[in-house]
């Protein structure tokens, strides 16, 4: 099968590195699965919650976090397959209108962890169009590298909820694995954000 995504300009690891470096104070949710490896390779941070499961739940998790932390920018980074499993969550997010939430989709038009089978976006499903129809106030798309600066600026400071649809090259992710213990990852994140008391430690 010819795969147009093999020649897309935008490289996912470079974008992951920019997202982390340009948003040092943001809270990140990484969706199953290649976007988890991307964010880990770019720098495993306590302010990132990486999902080893919960496919279709990344944007919804970002919503709950954004509502709880309205002063913090919350950035969900996920893939096209993961987001396609949670299209309804885009409507749920848009209805809540969290001004501090950005959902970034790395769209390689493939299920990268299972053999690069085509996702619906390979057949033309327009995820930005879904977000627009759901009511996201800020939507950015980048198909080529020259569109990245504007897109990433919106992710960092645009009025949320922001939906950023980035067409990324279909290529292997760096297989950089974050810790697997979910309970520990949860407490690591909460301790970073809320302080030692939040995980039962004395300050």
């Amino acid at each position: 099968m010819t795969n147009r995504a093999n020649t897309f300009e935008i490289r996912r690891l470079a974008v992951a590195k920019r997202l982390l470096s340009e948003n040092p104070d943001a809270l990140f949710i990484a969706g199953l699965g290649a976007t988890v490896w991307d964010l880990t390779a770019a720098g495993d941070r306590h302010s990132t919650f990486p999902l080893w499961g919960a496919m279709g739940g990344a944007a919804a998790m970002g919503l709950g976090l954004a509502l709880a932390q309205p002063e913090k920018r919350v950035i969900v980074v996920t893939g096209d397959g993961e987001q396609l499993m949670g299209l309804g969550a885009l409507a749920t997010v848009a209805v809540q209108r969290p001004a501090n939430l950005s959902v970034v989709v790395f769209d390689n038009e493939s299920y990268g962890e299972t053999g690069m089978q085509a996702t619906h976006t390979a057949a033309g499903v327009d995820l930005a169009g879904v977000a627009r129809a759901a009511g996201f106030p800020t939507i950015v798309t980048a198909v080529t590298e020259d569109a990245l600066d504007d897109a990433l600026a919106a992710v960092s400071t645009g009025k949320g909820p922001v939906f950023a649809w980035l067409k990324v090259r279909a290529e292997p992710s760096p297989f950089a694995l974050p810790p697997k213990d979910g309970a520990w990852l949860k407490d690591r994140f909460r301790r970073h954000l809320l302080g030692p008391e939040a995980v039962g430690e004395t300050a």
């Binding site: 509502l67 949670g86 979910g182 949860k186």
Partner: protein
């Protein structure tokens, strides 16, 4: 009007619940109205119950407590998301209005009504039954304490006999 939903709401307030995620059910009508009217709570309407454990995991990451309201048919939409709840030991408080049990008129509700409790238990959820209106506040408070102090998944199954048989003209 029965006031047991108000007792549940007060117990949720007492447990410092700040996010109410829900897929509507007639049995949760009053509770949803109370949540939506309360300026200290986020009432989050979902497109599918599957979003609920994810939203509330995010809430917990951000330092807020939440509760998920749904009917028993919605339990069937949740198990894969509940695996994340269990693996990460996220607290999760669910209030499930039961269909398919006492006086059900729709046979298509019977299957999930029967499967809801064992399905939840298979996914590591502790079950409380609420069948007597007088217990609404205490059972909800006990379930909330177990969920948030024990960092685990807990469901209160609200009996159909307590809710009353569905009447579409009401």
């Amino acid at each position: 009007m029965a006031d047991w939903p108000d007792r549940i709401f007060e117990a949720l307030q007492g447990a410092d619940v700040r996010q109410i995620a829900y897929v509507p059910d007639a049995g949760h009508k009053r509770l949803i109205e109370r949540a939506r009217a309360d300026g200290d709570m986020h009432a989050v309407s979902l497109t599918t119950e599957m979003e609920g454990p994810a939203v509330l995991a995010g809430a917990w990451l951000g330092g807020q407590r939440g509760a998920l309201l749904m009917q028993s048919s919605g339990v069937g939409n949740c198990p894969n998301m509940l695996s994340t709840t269990q693996t990460c030991r996220f607290p999760l408080l669910m209030l499930v209005t039961m269909r398919g049990e006492f006086g059900e008129f729709n046979p298509w509700q019977l299957s999930m009504g029967q499967a809801a409790a064992p399905m939840l238990e298979m996914m590591g959820t502790r079950i409380f039954r609420l069948d007597d209106a007088d217990d609404a506040g205490t059972v909800t408070a006990a379930a909330a304490a177990m969920a948030f102090e024990g960092q685990m998944s807990v469901a209160v199954l609200i009996g159909q006999r307590l809710i009353g048989t569905k009447n579409f003209r009401k």
